[in-house]
């Protein structure tokens, strides 16, 4: 298993956590859009591709809900982060968190 995470994978995993217990493609998409700058366009296709890749790696798991009329009779695909997913996300974010602490608040204004 490849344990490394790309930048976008980190964002998507964070989006899955932020989406809560019933995170699905669109909520993850919205959470990721909140995380990135306004200039960067995040497509729903990129989210689904990344979620598929993360699922292959075992960092998220998915299940289908019931089809509903508001979705044109289509089922919702829910995602949640797995224990290995939490571990790799922590490993990816921890150095960044440390770096931010080192540079201190307001560093970008210098």
């Amino acid at each position: 298993m490849n344990d490394s995470l790309g930048e976008f994978e980190v964002l998507v995993l964070t989006g899955v956590i932020a989406g809560g217990a019933d995170a699905y493609g669109m909520t993850v998409h919205e959470e990721v859009e909140k995380l990135v700058t306004a200039k960067r366009n995040v497509s729903l296709g990129a989210i689904y591709t990344t979620l598929g890749r993360l699922e292959e790696k075992g960092f998220v798991e998915s299940w289908f809900g019931e089809p509903t009329t508001e979705r044109g009779g289509r089922a919702k695909k829910f995602y949640r982060i797995t224990a290995p997913g939490k571990r790799v996300l922590h490993e990816a974010l921890a150095p960044m968190a440390k770096a931010l602490r080192v540079v201190g608040p307001g560093w970008s204004e210098v």
């Binding site: 493609g25 669109m26 497509s43 729903l44 689904y48 044109g72 289509r74 089922a75 919702k76």
Partner: protein
């Protein structure tokens, strides 16, 4: 007919029909009929169910003709009632049509979702198309119908490249796997080649290039009709 005003009209009509003066009867029936047609109660009935209003007309017609079978006015009266009935039917149909139009729910341009079905696994494409459809009414409120349609098209349009890229990568992996498999078989490592072939098959199916079945899509909803047997994750 349960409305008291309609019941009163009916009673008045029945009483009037007891009289023998045919010409007066005809005139009075007409008056009652027109009063019935103008009454709120009838219009309310028509609003709820046009058939109830028409039932009233039929009832007046039956009462009138029952007492007035030999009347010289019969033909004229029937023609007039028929004309009123036609006007009512036409009005009811028009009302139904306009109500239907005002209740029309804008639908997303679902044909665009075909792109998702071409580039993604059916289940994932279903989920993505469903996400977009679910969000569509909310976007209409925020952006208007045209804006929502643009938003929908933009979501699909911007998804094409990442999906194409991912599908391309899987095809590439599959092709490399197949070539390696042939090489390994040539040098006598068949079991390793079999494993590679299996992996390559999975990649091809996931890329959507080999379904093992037909992918039929409903042109109205953009949904896959015939799901290919794909590997479950």
């Amino acid at each position: 007919m349960t409305d008291p005003r309609l019941l009163r009209l009916r009673a008045e009509l029945a009483m009037e029909l007891q009289k023998d003066e045919v010409s007066r009867k005809y005139g009075y029936c007409q008056t009652l009929l027109w009063r019935a047609l103008r009454s709120d109660a009838l219009h309310r009935h028509l609003n709820v169910d046009p058939r109830q209003g028409l039932n009233l007309i039929e009832e007046i017609l039956a009462l009138t003709l029952g007492q007035q079978g030999r009347s010289i006015y019969r033909t004229n009266f029937l023609a007039e009632l028929e004309s009123i009935r036609k006007r009512l039917v036409s009005a009811a149909e028009e009302r139904k049509r306009t109500e239907g139009l005002s209740k029309r729910v804008p639908r997303p341009p679902a044909k665009l979702a075909l792109v998702l079905y071409l580039l993604m696994e059916d289940a994932d494409a279903d989920a993505a198309a469903g996400d977009l459809e679910q969000r569509f009414p909310e976007r209409i409120k925020r952006l208007g119908e045209r804006g929502a349609r643009i938003w929908y098209a933009k979501q699909i349009g911007t998804s094409v490249w990442p999906l194409l890229w991912a599908a391309g990568q899987r095809v590439l992996k599959s092709a490399v796997g197949s070539v390696l498999s042939i090489v390994l078989r040539t040098v006598g490592l068949g079991s390793v080649a079999d494993e590679l072939k299996r992996v390559a098959g999975v990649q091809r199916r996931r890329a959507g290039i080999v379904g093992g079945g037909r992918l039929e899509v409903d042109m109205r909803s953009g949904q896959a009709l015939d799901k290919s047997p794909r590997e479950s994750r």
